[in-house]
């Protein structure tokens, strides 16, 4: 059963990723990315990471991608007439690089796959909100706070950059 789910979700993820890259319309691209994220959330569930599956939907698909769509609509980016950059050489290099990295990663994963085939049995406990919350507020308290600060900083910085007018000294 899980195998069928995996195949379905994997095909969905790869297809939506490809569609995102090649789709002409930026809005479509964004929607394909949402689809990709949803299918990844499904895969997270298969891996018994319930908490992160929910977060993935809420934060990524729900918040980040909405922001993307918002900006795309705001800027009213036209459909691109020429989709990709004109340099054919660049394509070639890009694909070569992509395939190269992929092959390399697969090769290194190959060395790994004999040693670990399956999901650990402890996972049933480890993926829950309680388990994650527990370590997040004990072991990982410092990174957690730095992230909190970073979110404030990012919000502040984004407002400053996106503001239209330059404020002169003291707004006088």
């Amino acid at each position: 059963m899980i195998t069928y789910f995996f195949i379905f979700l994997a095909v969905l993820a790869v297809a939506s990723a490809l569609m995102m890259v090649i789709s002409k319309n930026t809005v479509n691209s964004a929607l394909f990315l949402v689809l990709n994220m949803m299918s990844l959330a499904g895969l997270f569930l298969l891996l018994q990471a319930q908490f992160l599956a929910i977060i993935q939907v809420l934060v990524y698909a729900g918040a980040i991608m909405v922001l993307f769509l918002f900006v795309i609509m705001l800027l009213n980016v036209d459909e691109e007439t020429s989709l990709f950059s004109k340099l054919r050489v660049k394509y070639f290099v890009a694909f070569l690089l992509g395939v190269g990295v992929f092959a390399q990663i697969l090769y290194s994963l190959g060395s790994f796959s004999d040693t670990l085939p399956t999901i650990s049995s402890e996972m049933a406990q480890a993926g829950t909100v309680e388990a994650i919350g527990d370590v997040l507020f004990s072991k990982y308290i410092l990174p957690f706070h730095i992230i909190a600060m970073l979110l404030t900083a990012a919000m502040n910085g984004a407002i400053m950059i996106a503001q239209h007018k330059v404020r002169t000294e003291g707004n006088k």
Binding site: V14, L33, I64, V77, E80, A94, G127, I147, I161
Partner: protein
């Protein structure tokens, strides 16, 4: 039951689609989305490893990476808005003032 290695291979594939997308697209927003795809692919890897080891550290890293992706998205989209105001375009092909 399907093995972890399948998840990892899927993750590598998605990561590489992301790389290729970054390299060949010229719309800054789409490039940024491809970066998001790469981060997502890594998250899948992390969660797979985490599930395999049955330890929660990998998931915590995913949690943080989600938060950072959010922060990055906010700043990145603000920058894209700023550059759109200057250029009326998000085509990185037109952004070549600074070279060498």
């Amino acid at each position: 039951m399907i093995g972890i290695d399948w998840f990892l291979a899927l993750s590598a594939l998605l990561f590489c689609i992301g790389i290729v997308g970054v390299l060949i697209r010229k719309n800054a927003i789409v490039i940024f989305m491809c970066v998001e795809l790469m981060l997502n692919a890594v998250n899948l890897s992390l969660i797979s490893f985490s599930s395999h080891y049955g330890n929660v550290d990998g998931q915590i890293l995913v949690f943080f990476s989600l938060a950072i992706a959010a922060a990055e998205a906010v700043v990145g989209l603000a920058i894209i808005i700023a550059i759109f105001r200057n250029n009326l375009s998000v085509d990185i092909g037109k952004i070549n003032l600074l070279r060498w």
